[in-house]
């Protein structure tokens, strides 16, 4: 007898399917088993989706990098400004006569005469 006569349905072999089905069920095929499996699946999904501190999304990471970059730029600008002020003050401290000294020695803050000129 040919296979075709034994299995008249060429599209879907229902007899073979019926024979296979018992091999495709869990050892304990009860509602409690399926409820348990469902719970484990959902538990695994929840565990996987729980946010962890080391799990930073790419969007958050980009925003963080941008913020850090801006902060560095601002710090750099502030440091430059502070240095400039410091230099100006240092320069002024040696070129300008303090007010107290000018009061004690009149005329000390006047510009020095050019060499060779007469008062």
């Amino acid at each position: 007898m040919s296979n075709e006569l034994q299995f008249p349905d060429p599209d879907r072999d229902r007899v073979l399917a019926a024979a296979l089905e018992p091999l495709l069920t869990p050892p304990v095929d009860t509602p409690a088993y399926w409820a348990g499996l469902q719970g484990r699946i959902l538990g695994r999904v929840a565990q996987d989706m729980a946010p962890a501190w080391w799990n930073i999304s790419p969007t958050t990471a980009r925003a963080g990098m941008l913020a850090a970059g801006l902060a560095l730029l601002a710090l750099g600008a502030l440091a430059l400004q502070a240095r400039e002020i410091e230099e100006r003050m240092a320069f002024q401290s040696v070129t300008e006569i303090p007010l107290e000294v000018a009061r004690i020695i009149p005329g000390i803050d006047e510009p020095l005469p050019r060499p060779g000129s007469r008062r």
Binding site: L20, E21, L37, I41
Partner: protein, 197 residues
């Protein structure tokens, strides 16, 4: 003596009526919006068939469970890319089949495990049924994983060749030839028991 309970055929477990389809669509949309309870409904509805597909490929209970869990996790992660007008079952089964095939690649397939005790059988004689299950299980184990996937998806789950081709990323013709080869091998293995029926 334990009474054998005939489980529903997998084809009858599938969503049956239009309202089921509407429910499913609503659950998918809700799950895509972050509703975990809705995703739970999808799991509840599809896990049995997902298990059958995985079991047919990996051949043992523990690996089938692992593959099903892995597949649902993957499906959850990819849910935002799923269009609700697609067939969720086919989409999920593709993921399940690939998870199971991946598992078989990573692990050595263990020897056929102990077969279920109280499963129903088309055979009247329990001894004959046990013999059939043993031989069928062994023959299934000798098939390459992809052929197992094809025969389970086609003959047990009722998917068409083109759908199976898409699920397993193989040409439709390959799915057909895999099915033909797998059937021939299983029928050969069943031999006299089958032809006596």
């Amino acid at each position: 003596m334990a009474t054998a309970v005939r489980p529903l055929p997998f084809s009858e477990v599938s969503p049956r009526v239009a309202s089921d389809a509407a429910d499913e669509r609503a659950w998918i949309i809700a799950a895509q919006g972050g509703d975990d309870a809705a995703f739970g409904k999808l799991v509840e509805r599809h896990q049995r068939r997902a298990y059958a597909v995985a079991r047919g490929i990996v051949l043992n209970h523990e690996d089938a469970e692992d593959a099903v869990q892995e597949a649902f996790l993957h499906a959850y992660r990819a849910l935002d890319r799923f269009r609700p007008d697609q067939a969720f079952g086919a989409w999920l089964h593709r993921i399940v089949a690939n998870a199971a095939l991946d598992l078989t690649r990573r692990r050595k397939v263990r020897e056929a495990e102990e077969l279920p005790e109280t499963v129903a059988s088309p055979f009247r004689d329990p001894a004959e049924a046990a013999d059939l299950r043993q031989r069928l299980g062994a023959a299934l184990g000798e098939l390459p994983p992809r052929q197992r996937a094809v025969i389970v998806l086609h003959d047990v789950e009722g998917f068409k060749h083109a759908e199976i081709g898409k699920m397993l990323s193989i040409p439709e013709g390959t799915a057909r030839s895999d099915l033909h080869y797998a059937r021939a091998r299983l029928r050969d293995a069943l031999g006299s028991t089958w032809s006596d029926r």
